[in-house]
């Protein structure tokens, strides 16, 4: 007897791209601050990827509104414990960080680099926020399984990480940067993320119990098990281990991870609103 908010494809894309943006940014920041000089390419790709994606996210959010011209009304309030409210603020602030970090990523002056590293670490907080808050937002609704999902934010965050890292590695592969050491490291980070994602997913489902029915049984079950778990997590992990030498397979794995990330948001949103 509840009502669906009709958050459909536009919002699915927003969740997906927002996760990549946030995940790519904090990966870039960690590579920037803790990695070596050969990881600079990872950092630059991560920062530069997050900027346009964040802009697109902003546009998607505005266009999805019932009255897009009133999007600024979102900034009329600041309720700290309201995910939608701080989300509006947060994406704006994060966007600024992606812009500054992207500009600074072309710099090699030592002072700029240090500044960039510090800014990156601070911006990562916002990156983590962007990747995860939409899950907390869903968890704060009255909807049948969203409202019961305590780990939705955590899940979205780790998925943001895995897709962000996969996106970086794919871009590196496509631009010929796959030979660098950074490629291997980001893939390693990605593997850690994917394993953690499987763990979170398992706890997520366990905590939900029968409330998880819309996801794991019913018409969305094939997409969930096949698309997300199989294609999006298990198979890429296998490919990654198997194809450590041949770069193509890890690239294929990256694509699959991205697909899996899209499927996750798709089934979460649509299984409640179908």
């Amino acid at each position: 007897m509840l009502k669906s908010p009709e958050w459909e494809l536009m919002i699915v894309w927003y969740f997906f791209l927002g996760g990549i943006a946030g995940g790519a940014y904090f990966t870039a920041a960690i590579a920037d601050s803790f990695g070596g000089p050969r990881d600079r390419a990872v950092a630059r790709v991560g920062y530069l990827l997050s900027l346009p994606l964040t802009a697109i996210c902003g546009i998607l959010l505005v266009v999805d509104l019932g009255v897009p011209l009133r999007f600024l009304n979102m900034l009329g309030k600041f309720s700290f414990w309201n995910p939608m409210s701080i989300g509006a603020w947060g994406i704006g602030v994060f966007g600024l960080f992606t812009l500054v970090s992207s500009v600074l990523s072309f710099s090699s002056s030592a002072r700029r680099v240090v500044l960039r590293q510090r800014i990156g670490l601070v911006g990562s907080i916002f990156g983590f926020f962007l990747a995860s808050y939409t899950g907390v937002l869903l968890g704060g609704t009255a909807q049948p399984f969203w409202g019961d999902a305590r780990l939705m934010g955590a899940l979205f965050l780790v998925s943001g990480a895995s897709t962000g890292m996969a996106a970086i590695s794919l871009i590196l592969f496509l631009t010929g940067g796959a030979a660098g050491e950074g490629f291997g490291k980001v893939k390693k980070a990605d593997r850690y993320s994917m394993i953690f994602e499987l763990v979170i997913l398992a706890i997520f489902l366990a905590l939900l119990g029968s409330a998880a029915r819309p996801l794991v049984a019913g018409q969305f079950a094939p997409l969930f098990w096949g698309g997300l778990v199989g294609l999006g997590l298990v198979i890429p992990l296998v490919l990654d281990f198997v194809g450590r030498r041949a770069k193509v397979l890890p690239a294929v794995a990256a694509v699959l991870v991205l697909i899996g990330g899209f499927v996750l948001r798709y089934v979460v949103l649509m299984s409640v609103q179908a």
């Binding site: 908010p5 509104l65 939608m84 090699s108 983590f128 704060g140 009255a142 934010g153 965050l157």
Partner: protein, 258 residues
């Protein structure tokens, strides 16, 4: 802050005539909607962006072979702790000085978070205005010394309007009377301000369990878990960040080399 106003809908007096449903539509100048087939007299199946007062018809066959036809005029509950109000990021949803919950149609930008956050499925999205809609508790009327249109139209006084504390006292007496008349499942829903959602400012007297009327037996404020969920997310971030750190860190070299 003025004394809290409330609507008390006593379903034991409802004859299902729908004067309330029509009076609401007329007063609020709500539009025509093509009805759907529900298999019963009820239309519509649930609240919409053009139907704020809705009469529900529930046939309840009894083990004795008799039949009960539960008739209930449902409405926005104007919860003391309102999921829609907590959800709204623009401040469009606000509480009036009378305790009622209203949506400012000029501020709402149609994000639909309130639609997703009502435990009763009341708030609805209007495609043509692009904003969220629900019962206003006849906001214009109560600010001009009048009661809601539905209460005025009700021929049997099933819908009563007044100060909340007065109505709760009345309702409590009424439940006892009904129990004495043999309605052993008679119960109040939302009268207790120490109960769920801090009490409802549109509360009910039901003749059966809430779930019989498709109402949640114990609705909860959907925002109660935001803190916990956020903590889990932060924990996840720490683990992920650690993993990335382990993957990227340079051994034997200082961080931040150019």
């Amino acid at each position: 802050m003025a004394r809290t106003l409330a609507m008390f809908t006593d379903t034991s007096l409802c004859i299902g005539c729908r004067a309330c449903q029509v009076a609401c539509k007329q007063w609020n100048e709500l539009g025509m909607e093509v009805p759907e087939w529900t298999g019963t007299y009820q239309n519509h199946a649930h609240f919409t962006d053009q139907t704020y007062r809705l009469v529900r018809f529930v046939e309840e066959p009894k083990p004795t072979g008799d039949l009960a036809w539960l008739l209930m005029s449902d409405v926005c509950k104007h919860c003391a702790e309102a999921g829609c109000l907590e959800a709204c990021p623009t401040g469009a949803i606000y509480r009036t000085e009378f305790g009622t919950v209203n949506i400012n149609p000029d501020v709402c930008n149609g994000c639909r978070y309130c639609v997703a956050s009502c435990p009763f499925g009341v708030v609805a999205f209007n495609e043509s205005t692009g904003t969220a809609k629900k019962c206003t508790f006849c906001n214009d009327r109560i600010h001009n010394g009048l009661g809601p249109a539905c209460a005025k139209a009700c021929p049997t006084d099933s819908i009563q309007f007044g100060f909340r504390d007065d109505l709760v006292t009345k309702a409590q007496k009424r439940v006892e009377t009904l129990k004495g008349m043999g309605f052993k499942d008679a119960q109040l829903y939302g009268a207790d301000s120490k109960g769920f959602l801090g009490g409802l400012n549109a509360f009910f007297l039901l003749l059966a369990r809430p779930s019989t009327y498709n109402l949640p037996d114990s609705p909860k404020l959907p925002q109660r878990n935001v803190v916990v969920d956020s903590l889990f997310s932060i924990g996840s971030a720490l683990v992920v960040g650690l993993g990335a750190l382990l993957a990227f860190r340079e051994r034997g070299k200082g961080a931040g080399d150019a």
